[in-house]
Symmetry: C2
Subunit: 328 residues, 2 copies
């Protein structure tokens, strides 16, 4: 874990200025000695910050390392509920596991766990989520007043927030495949895993894990998933700015989560419809009850898919795998 | 934690016989030396077993300590899914917490965690469950194929199993107050806390915690709950056999869980109706939507309470606090 308040302040000041910031000014603001400021500068350099130091002039930031640390992200977001505390790790087993252990110990809503890589990144139903360097992997702790049956709303909201943020931060025109697959060029670029600890009629806490294939190389993925996954950099032909992307996702997450918590899930669904590639498409839905084909008409008030069958009947699906047979 | 296979076998043999069991026979069956048998006997004596040892005759069990250890319970149950592994502790924070930590690490379905006392026993919604010596406190790990919204079925099933077992093992004519309060003399004698770790549409594992006020002294409870709680021994005027009770509860739990897992929840509801004191009673239901009064008619297919209002309408409640204003 990295980060301290002093460093956040130092970075903030260095970024605010084109020229040099004096060590004395920093020392005064932080209430520490000038050698104390120098120590922080040294440790930041060790982590990849390029900081010029000139006697009598002070410090100047030349380049930041490509890490999603709290001090890099915090100045870029203006969130209410999410990311007031950001814990950044080089490598974890899974950000969801770290967040869950924290939540069990009472960590409050909004805390974000970010990692550069995950050794045992997980997807839904125990599947693996390959998490090499270059991706954006984070988990958010939520403590919603929500019956467990409504957890799907949180996953859907996360897909909406992530897709909107990717569009905004990278320009990649991602779409959402029902219920919550964020797609680019017909392949998945985001994995979402929503987990909860709850009672029969009350959720204790929810962990929402998001893995974005940002600058990952699809050739790093196992053969078995290479046809179904891609990355934003592969689609664009150049790397995306991970920091801008991570900040945008947290910002959108904060806004959409606030809407959901206020009971404005309808507004979230509105955005879902706007970005969905499923509505209007001819779809094949595979469920435990069987396989159904028809035209995807709409999404219901709880995120369920409404499909018009060839015989005119309407079917509603709350779960299942969807294939797009023909686009809208 | 106590228990080893050798001790289970020794206890089994000693219990099977009125007279003495020779140390040589035990040594042969266990494949250990006679001094090895003696060591086990010694450690059992240290835990409160009264075992007579007579040279050339062997060993004879005179009395067992009042502990709910694996070796005491296992010979009394014939379960299929539940209690194949029983972990017994003198004191834990909460059996649900111990079971949850085990489940996170992959502990299979059916493992039971029992404790003589709980330092931080929990009830629903973070309330405390006072757990002094004399109670029966255990948690069961389940790994059901169940959507999270159906978790209430597990709680209801647990109330049915526990009530049936208490009736059978102690003769106390407990009843069930909707949805899952097991009552004696109008007061609660059992606390049930069902918790899960799950995803939006799949349960990873469920921990069902049961706390039975068996031989506890109601004067040990805090003033605030003394009017609403009692114990089986207080109702009976004499202690119950905790071991017989614990074994009966696990046996019934195993049977009812098997029914639930097979989709025979209707059969469980049948037993619920048979033991319920709510059906037919005039009830006051307090919910987030308001307070309603009427006559409790029936329980629906998912455990919901169906109430006839004075104006003839029927209302269905999936959650809420029920008061019995007038019995059936």
């Amino acid at each position: 874990m990295r980060g301290s308040n002093a460093r956040v302040v130092i970075l903030h000041r260095l970024r605010d200025r084109e020229g040099f910031t004096s060590g004395q000014a920093l020392a005064r603001e932080l209430g520490i000695s000038r050698p104390g400021v120098w120590k922080h500068i040294e440790s930041m350099r060790a982590e990849g910050y390029q900081i010029e130091a000139v006697p009598r002039l002070g410090y100047r930031l030349i380049a930041s390392p490509d890490v999603l640390s709290a001090e890099e992200i915090l100045p870029l977001i203006r969130t209410k509920a999410i990311g007031r505390r950001i814990l950044h790790f080089e490598n974890v087993t899974s950000t969801n596991d770290v967040a869950r252990d924290l939540a069990v110990k009472g960590e409050p809503e909004g805390t974000v766990v970010i990692a550069e890589t995950q050794g045992e990144g997980r997807g839904r139903l125990g599947r693996a989520w390959v998490s090499p360097p270059g991706g954006v992997y984070f988990s958010v702790i939520l403590r919603p007043v929500l019956p467990p049956g409504r957890l799907g709303n949180v996953t859907l909201m996360t897909a909406v927030a992530t897709a909107a943020a990717i569009r905004e931060a990278t320009g990649v025109d991602v779409t959402i495949k029902w219920p919550n697959d964020v797609m680019a060029d017909g392949r998945k670029v985001v994995g979402i895993l929503t987990e909860m600890l709850g009672e029969a009629d009350a959720v204790n806490f929810v962990i929402v894990g998001v893995g974005i294939n940002a600058n990952t190389d699809p050739r790093q993925y196992p053969q078995s998933v290479r046809t179904s996954l891609t990355s934003l950099s592969a689609v664009l032909g150049e790397p995306v700015d991970r920091l801008t992307l991570a900040a945008a996702v947290l910002q959108h997450f904060d806004e959409d989560w606030t809407r959901l918590a206020r009971g404005q899930f309808g507004d979230v669904l509105h955005d879902w419809r706007r970005m969905s590639s499923t509505l209007g498409a001819t779809v094949r839905v595979s469920t435990v009850r069987g396989v159904f084909e028809g035209t995807a008409l709409d999404i219901g008030p709880d995120g369920e898919l409404i499909v018009a069958m060839p015989d005119g009947r309407k079917c509603t699906f709350t779960s299942g795998e969807v294939e797009h047979l023909r686009s809208a």
